[in-house]
């Protein structure tokens, strides 16, 4: 074994690089493959308008996926994000309708997302109930509250004073959609925090080995709670973006959204077992899902096929991923 190997070579071997980044590399390859395929099949695919449109539509998912990457890195899951989006989306519209100025409504909604996350995180980390159960309950309860508040109606956002919020969801700056810009900022911040800060390191440590983390004095329970606050706030932001884009708030927003978000994160190589997560992978995973949906529509397949193909591709990509990853690390250890 390398116990007796000479001290650190300055450059790391290709093999090490491949193993360590196998997950991100394979999703990158997959993403490029999808792009090439659709650009051959449809002349419209690579047009800037189309690509920017994909990005604009993906913005809520990308934002929420940042929070989800943190949660899954700790080894947990948050099934309630779609319902938080619906609740915050509805509350935003109701607050504006009640005459609250838009900055207050925005703050209120973000705070609501944070509190919901805090409550769920408390049950997960301090009461030791599996996150799957807590957030499954959240999924049901929160959408129920949204339905109760709106009585199932869609609430229009037509107050002139709320115009800046609509711009947030619809506007463009220098030929670039504002929601996409916002998503990029959140993604960059998320990537920095996860990779470069002490907090990000603790998130990874709790997911990798909670017992070891606890023994060296990392406040595991607080870290575990905080990641659910992150999904809460990012979901609330997604709810705002959707409210802005559609100009209304509805309890039916973002149904099945949690599955897309989880799929994007997992496709990006973040392990459901915890301990490994990258925002770059998540971005690529989300974009792959977005591109497949967009591409299949551009090549005029039945819209019903999109779901089938997306599901199949997730399975295929992750299967390949585990095979490649498994083989590489087995080769290393053997």
């Amino acid at each position: 074994m390398s116990h007796h190997a000479p001290p650190a070579a300055p450059s790391r071997s290709w093999h090490d690089f491949l193993i360590e980044h196998a997950q991100v590399l394979s999703i990158t390859l997959f993403f490029i493959l999808c792009c090439v395929l659709f650009s051959i099949l449809s002349p419209f695919f690579l047009m800037p308008d189309n690509l920017l449109n994909v990005l604009r539509q993906m913005a809520p998912l990308l934002v929420t996926a940042v929070g989800m990457t943190f949660v899954i890195t700790t080894g947990g899951i948050d099934l309630s994000v779609g319902s938080i989006v619906a609740l915050t989306n509805a509350v935003c519209a109701l607050a504006l309708q009640a005459g609250l100025p838009w900055p207050i409504a925005t703050l209120l909604v973000l705070l609501l997302g944070g509190i919901v996350g805090l409550a769920q995180g408390w049950f997960v980390s301090y009461q030791k109930i599996p996150s799957f159960i807590v957030t499954l309950a959240g999924l049901s309860i929160l959408r129920g509250i949204a339905l109760l508040l709106t009585r199932g109606y869609s609430i229009p956002i037509d107050e002139p004073s709320a115009a800046p919020l609509l711009t947030l969801g619809r506007g463009w700056i220098l030929g670039f959609p504002i929601p996409a810009l916002l998503a990029i900022v959140i993604l960059a911040a998320g990537a920095f925090v996860l990779r470069e800060t002490r907090y990000g390191r603790y998130v990874t440590a709790v997911g990798a080995n909670a017992e070891a983390a606890r023994r060296v004095g990392i406040p595991s329970a607080r870290i575990l709670t905080s990641v659910f606050v992150l999904t809460g706030v990012t979901s609330a932001l997604a709810g705002l973006l959707i409210a802005g884009r559609l100009g209304s708030g509805s309890s039916n927003t973002a149904e099945g959204f949690e599955l897309d978000v989880i799929a994007a994160v997992v496709l990006g190589g973040t392990s459901l077992l915890g301990g490994t997560g990258t925002i770059l992978g998540t971005v690529l995973g989300a974009l792959t899902i977005g591109v497949i949906g967009n591409g299949l529509i551009l090549v005029h397949t039945s819209p019903f096929l999109v779901q089938i193909v997306t599901g199949a591709i997730i399975l295929l990509a992750i299967w390949l991923n585990t095979r490649i990853f498994g083989r590489l690390s087995a080769g290393r250890k053997g």
Binding site: M1, S2, H3, H4, A5, P6, P7, A8, A9, R12, D16, I19, E20, E196, T197, R198, Y199, R201, T204, A205, G207, A208, N209, E211, A212, A213, R215, V216, G217, I218, G275, T276, S329, R332, K333
Partner: protein, 259 residues
């Protein structure tokens, strides 16, 4: 190895009860700096419980712990650490998906206003390993990629970096390949040479002869014997572990099965 004149840590009459089961029945034990004590005994003899009492994981129901002559009450692992008592648990102390440097500094990361100072951790981590002559080619390799021996070495180096007075090692060499066992034992000797009181809990009797100066034998919650390494041999060790009330042939058979 020259050991300290006075014991660094001194246990007297340590008792521990779980329900109706008395696991430790009044154990006396002295630990000296620069000395390695082997703590052996069959399963359920109380050696794990005793090491957990020393590391603060269990609070004893009776008896006294003295550190450097003063009576202390160790109420938990963090308090044990404050008293400079470190424990390396069997393969439980590392985060697989974090790199070598990150693991060495786990829980006490070097950072500037929350942002990790990775370069400094790489440099100081390398120094920590060099000080104990541990060779890990790549400080940025994820710990999952390393061999069992390298992982154990990193766990020990991390514990040693807290400048402990007492270092407790729980089965550090079980599940390691032969060459790796050698490396870990050599490492234990280097830690010992720094004046640390090392306690080695192990089932591997051959390791005792390589690093220990003294052996304490646990049997059914009592310390039944203590031997200096030079005054004993494998036969006697096996006899004392199995309780001395069986014939030698059975004892030797069991030793064969164990190692």
């Amino acid at each position: 190895m020259s050991r300290s004149a006075e014991p660094l840590m001194s246990l007297s009459g340590i008792r521990k009860v779980f329900g109706s089961n008395t696991v430790l029945k009044g154990v006396d034990l002295d630990l000296y700096g620069g000395e390695c004590l082997g703590l052996v005994g069959d399963n359920a003899a109380g050696k794990s419980t005793l090491s957990k009492v020393m590391s603060g994981a269990y609070i004893p129901d009776g008896g006294e712990i003295r550190l450097g002559g003063e009576v202390v009450h160790i109420a938990g692992p963090s308090e044990a650490r404050r008293h400079r008592i470190e424990m390396v648990y069997q393969d439980l102390s590392l985060c697989d998906t974090i790199d070598v440097a990150g693991n060495l500094f786990l829980g006490r990361e070097l950072s500037r206003s929350g942002v990790l100072n990775k370069a400094e951790m790489l440099r100081k981590g390398r120094e920590m390993l060099d000080a104990l002559d541990i060779r890990i080619p790549d400080m940025r390799a994820k710990v999952a990629m390393l061999s069992g021996g390298q992982r154990q070495s990193i766990a020990i180096a991390r514990a040693a970096s807290f400048a402990p007075r007492v270092l407790l090692l729980d089965e550090p060499t079980s599940a390691l390949a032969v060459a790796e066992v050698e490396a870990v034992l050599a490492l234990i000797n280097r830690v010992k040479a720094q004046g640390v009181a090392v306690v080695l809990v192990t089932h591997r009797l051959q390791d005792l002869f390589r690093v220990c100066d003294r052996i304490a034998f646990m049997y059914e919650g009592n310390k039944v014997a203590e031997r200096r390494m030079e005054d004993t041999n494998l036969d006697e060790i096996v006899r004392l572990i199995v309780g001395g009330n069986r014939d030698e042939a059975t004892a030797l058979d069991q030793a064969g099965a164990r190692s």
